[in-house]
Symmetry: C2
């Protein structure tokens, strides 16, 4: 590797301090509810709670994140402020998040005291519950948490096969379609269930890879969010939709899987997913990664399509540093630098910690809050953590 | 009235030509589906169909609009291109829009051929079905359409009383809340069922006025979208939400009702709703009416909060010209002018007709399409029609 070791070390130190001094302290300080347990996830710029509702995607993700940091710093068992936070969140989840008359479903949002507020007709609350319990079980050795992860994973697999179980009417369509979100999250969930170096559910992984492959279109050099179940593109706003951040995230999930299997063709596909999505999704005029695009150039119907959100940038940071580690190709380090410069300039809040989440197309902050119904303690710390680890691995390998 | 008659006449002529030469022709030319009937509502800037799905809110609204124009130009009976279009839409609605196994529900969207695509857990498709059938029945004398309007209105009243009938789980809350949208649309629906100069359902109107009153807060000088069922403000993002365009629209609905009842106190309340909402909702820096605001100054959680949408401006044009007619106060003509100038400069598309729907905070067009899942042949032509009529009435009164 020709890269400047000093520069990689400087990044490594920056990601370390951003994570442990500017991001995790924000959540440890402001998010824990001393009265009812669980996490406040609706936090204003300075950490003030502007809504006491608790969103289960973010409760689950924060339990995962806090457990993950604990596991990395201390290994299973032991004590830490991260594990203490994870415990507060996990206890709240286990006491309140599963639907009273159907424990195979998880609410979308609860009131502060844990009473139900809203149930989505989607399976993502369940997915993040699995993720939380799997990592929390590793941190604590709690067998009950592990069983819950397995139980809910079975439920998620049922919903993936038959979405009508979620209560959303499914009408016969002339062109049935499939979404990238499903195989992508399942591939990641298996990874979480397996844990570091583990394996299992290989049939599900192979199914996921097959489904993801239908979304990856070499003839378009694009990753499509939604395609026909037969793998053919569909000419509707849904079928033309590009979500670059999502495709880049799917890319690094797949790269991890390809590395575990030692399958060079999967790694090649993962790199293409990342390359195509970034090339198409980067705003050449104002910088930043678009939230949504239409592959034929129509205006996406989503009102927020041209905004720049924090999480696609987090995913791109992870994807490019992993791609650089994998290939040693300096173009990935260049792209990492481009996204890094944009992100630290626009998203990172030097004054109160954590990152802003939402910018307009020109890069102005549109929402001052740090946590909301879809933003919590997850994408930023996960990206900072993974980038620091990958840099460590690159630098370690360089020393050999 | 001290206003310059020449200027009012010039506006009148501008609104007339905008309606009959630039807006209605766009829909007559591009929206009618010659194969399956009904309207394409997803039309690109130049009228090209970019999605053949049909959204029932907009089918219903276009049937209403086309019938309304026919009734105005020709009175009931007779023939016109507007009535022909209304018939195409009404026939499609009656053949396909009601849910097969529950005809008290109306789908949100259908495929081009009328097969079902999506059913919302909300009552608005049903509301626009009522509106469509009531006006279409007046245009044609079709008693069956009138009966359908009455039937679905009864269903809507049931949903208003018990939203769990829509399939959305309703959880007990420590603070039950109510939304402005419900009494506001019911008040308008009664107006549509009654027709010009008619009356009826007076008990429902009184209930609506009582509910709307709970949202109108003199101590804040604001209209709140969502309040406690007891009429007290609620300190959540929903309870702090201001939707200026919605409140202004509710204002002119209420002004119409107050005028029909000859109730000066209702007219005063309506004028306050309009004044407060515009004063709070107008962007003093970049112009235009915000889509959403938080009354305490937090960032609204809606990603699109700072965008400028066409329909709040349409509602403000109607509200201010009506307020001017009602009061003769020149400040309303000034505000009308402010919104007029912004709207014709930013929304009206001189090249292809109709108006753009979506601008960023600074006023740049973000979406080039003229019709989408929530924008069709409704707000723009309704506003142009009502403003022209009101100007005619002001000028006619001036001549007396």
């Amino acid at each position: 590797m020709a890269a400047d070791t000093t520069q990689l070390q400087s990044y490594q130190s920056q990601y370390h301090s951003e994570l442990y001094e500017h991001v995790l302290p924000f959540w440890l300080k402001h998010s824990i509810d001393p009265l009812h347990g669980g996490f406040f996830n609706n936090l204003d710029r300075d950490g003030k709670v502007y809504d006491t509702k608790k969103h289960m995607w973010l409760q689950g993700r924060q339990v995962w994140m806090m457990s993950h940091i604990h596991n990395d710093l201390h290994g299973p068992g032991g004590e830490s402020e991260y594990l203490k936070a994870a415990k507060a969140g996990a206890t709240f989840l286990r006491n309140h998040a599963r639907v009273a008359d159907n424990p195979r479903r998880v609410y979308f949002s609860l009131h502060r005291d844990g009473s139900p507020h809203f149930l989505q007709r989607k399976m993502f609350s369940e997915c993040f519950y699995v993720m939380a319990m799997a990592e929390y079980a590793r941190a604590t050795g709690d067998e009950g948490a592990r069983e819950e992860a397995n139980e809910l994973f079975e439920a998620v697999m049922d919903y993936a096969k038959d979405p009508s179980l979620l209560g959303r009417p499914v009408y016969p369509a002339s062109t049935p379609t499939i979404d990238l979100a499903v195989p992508m999250i399942l591939l990641n969930l298996v990874d979480e269930l397996n844990g570091p170096g583990g394996s299992g559910h290989e049939d599900i992984c192979e199914w996921c890879v097959g489904q993801i492959r239908k979304h990856v279109r070499p003839e378009l050099k694009l990753v499509l969010e939604c395609v026909g179940a037969d793998g053919n593109p569909v000419d509707t706003p849904e079928g033309r939709l590009i979500n670059p951040g999502h495709a880049i995230e799917a890319g690094w999930f797949l790269m991890n899987y390809g590395k575990r299997k030692g399958d060079a063709s999967l790694i090649k596909m993962a790199l293409e997913m990342i390359d195509w999505s970034f090339d198409f999704g980067w705003d050449k005029e104002h910088g930043g990664i678009y939230y949504f695009l239409d592959r034929e150039g129509y205006s996406p119907i989503q009102l927020e399509w041209s905004m720049k959100l924090w999480w696609p940038h987090c995913e791109a940071l992870v994807a490019f540093i992993m791609a650089y580690e994998e290939t040693g190709d300096s173009q990935y380090l260049e792209k990492f630098r481009t996204v890094h410069d944009y992100s630290f300039e626009h998203f990172s809040d030097k004054k109160h910690g954590e990152w802003f989440g939402y910018l307009d197309r020109m890069g102005n902050v549109t929402h001052r809050f740090k946590g909301g119904p879809y933003k919590g303690c997850f994408h930023v710390p996960r990206a900072l953590f993974l980038v620091e680890k990958t840099l460590g691995s690159i630098l370690g390998a360089g020393k050999k």
